[in-house]
């Protein structure tokens, strides 16, 4: 994918380190990895405590988001760069959350931590300070990137595509969750009726970088995605699907929303319709790499935790 818009690369970022209008945010599955070393000037956001409401299962409210923006110094003039571990899953969730709250200039570092490390770029263990007296933004929710349960129910069999970005095994209903994520199980396995299976890593290379645009479009089409129709993405808790949302919405310009309730909501509620098996996946999209627990992504590998 070409860089310079919402997707930036290490050269772009390294050339701008120290820019006072640049806010760099690292969001990891394991936030302590930040302490091993991070991009100089980056703040660490904890997705468990800062990107969710601490009590209700919901996003942080506007007051909490205002506090977060003040902590890291996001002003109206800021360019906010996000990156993280595990091929940017949680960084994409943060990107989506900030977009939901109307933050305008957002960028994602292609490949995240692993790309920065692989390129041998500088690291720091110092935590940045925000200069006092900054007039930080007051976020307001409602930019149309979030899908709620009712939106998904209305989309079944309709004009809006439902894209299940979990592994093929999760989609088929063979597993509730994956090894290493026992806390993310639902009450029932399977998928939302009429959803098609488009594993998130269809969009990336082995190193977690987003594929070149032509190849990206080709792979999405191969998996049955209509690039001219609006879409709702979901996974287990909404972070993998935030990655696919980023690709569709921010890079390819689709009208896409992320259903952050995802399968842990749908698969746990009483009376919800559930489909199992290969479902609506187009036969033409069959891919040997999808036969196992793996993702069927670009690398045709079956990682244990994706």
């Amino acid at each position: 994918m070409s860089v310079g818009g919402p997707l930036i690369d290490g050269d772009w970022l390294q050339a701008r380190l120290g820019d006072p209008d640049l806010v760099i945010l690292e969001i990891d599955e394991r936030p302590l990895i930040y302490r091993v070393g991070h991009i100089p000037g980056a703040h660490c956001l904890d997705w468990r405590t800062e990107l969710q409401d601490p009590v209700t299962r919901d996003l942080p409210d506007a007051d909490a988001m205002a506090g977060l923006c003040a902590r890291v110094g996001i002003t109206a003039a800021s360019t906010v760069v996000l990156y993280g571990d595990k091929s940017n899953w949680y960084a994409c969730f943060g990107f989506w959350l900030l977009r939901h709250y109307g933050i305008a200039d957002l960028r994602l570092l292609d490949g995240g931590r692993q790309a920065w490390l692989a390129e041998g770029r500088p690291l720091s263990v110092d935590e940045p300070e925000v200069p006092a007296g900054r007039e930080t933004v007051l976020p307001r929710a409602g930019t149309g990137v979030r899908a709620m349960l009712a939106d998904v129910q209305a989309a079944i069999g309709g004009a809006v595509q439902l894209l299940d970005v979990r592994t093929a095994a999760e989609y088929r209903g063979e597993v509730l969750t994956e090894p290493g994520y026992p806390q993310e199980g639902a009450q029932r396995p399977g998928h939302i009726p009429t959803a098609i299976n488009v594993p998130w890593d269809v969009a990336v290379d082995q190193d977690g970088r987003v594929l070149p645009e032509a190849r990206l479009r080709e792979r999405l089409r191969e998996h049955g995605v209509d690039l001219n129709r609006p879409a709702i993405t979901y996974c287990r808790i909404g972070e993998r699907s935030a990655h696919t949302w980023f690709v569709l919405s921010e890079l390819l310009g689709l009208r896409a929303r992320n259903y952050d309730g995802s399968w842990t909501e749908w698969g746990s509620m009483v009376g919800m319709p559930v489909a199992v098996g290969n479902g609506e996946r187009p036969a033409a999209a069959a891919d040997p790499a999808d036969a196992g627990v793996g993702t069927g992504g670009a690398g045709a590998v079956d990682p244990p935790s994706n």
Partner: protein, 131 residues
């Protein structure tokens, strides 16, 4: 006595398949949870000076690097060898990471990935860095 799945299958194949899948999924989730709890117990035992084998820092740092540099798809063999070398391991000496019932790493389609137990060891190492 539980009904014979084959008999039920003839009565209502779709419902039976869904039911068996649901049961299997729950068993797998339970196994994953037990694996995780067992890993934590073993790790706690080691931390308390129990009989478990102490892991040297460089061993744990290899695992952290696999986690950090491998992303979702893991490292390729050359990348793993480079990680090992960075921490003082000869390429031939890296096989020990894959052996034993509690191996922290596994190979899958030529990619090197953490096992759930390996992830527990990474968490233990990272917890030392907490403020």
């Amino acid at each position: 006595m539980a009904p014979n799945p084959a008999d039920t299958l003839q009565a209502d194949p779709a419902q039976t398949l869904a039911s068996v899948r649901a049961e299997l999924a729950k068993v797998r989730a339970s196994v994953a949870r037990i694996e995780r709890d067992l890993g934590l117990l073993e790790a706690t035992q080691r931390g308390a000076g129990g009989t478990g084998r102490e892991r040297p820092d460089r061993y744990l740092q290899v695992l952290v690097d696999v986690y950090d540099r491998g992303g979702r798809h893991g490292l390729d063999p050359d990348g793993f060898a480079a990680v090992g070398e960075r921490h003082g391991y000869d390429r031939r000496g890296l096989g020990g990471f894959f052996t034993g019932g509690r191996a922290p790493l596994r190979r899958d389609h030529e990619r090197i990935l953490l096992t759930p137990y390996g992830e527990q060891l990474v968490d233990l190492y990272l917890q030392r860095l907490a403020p």
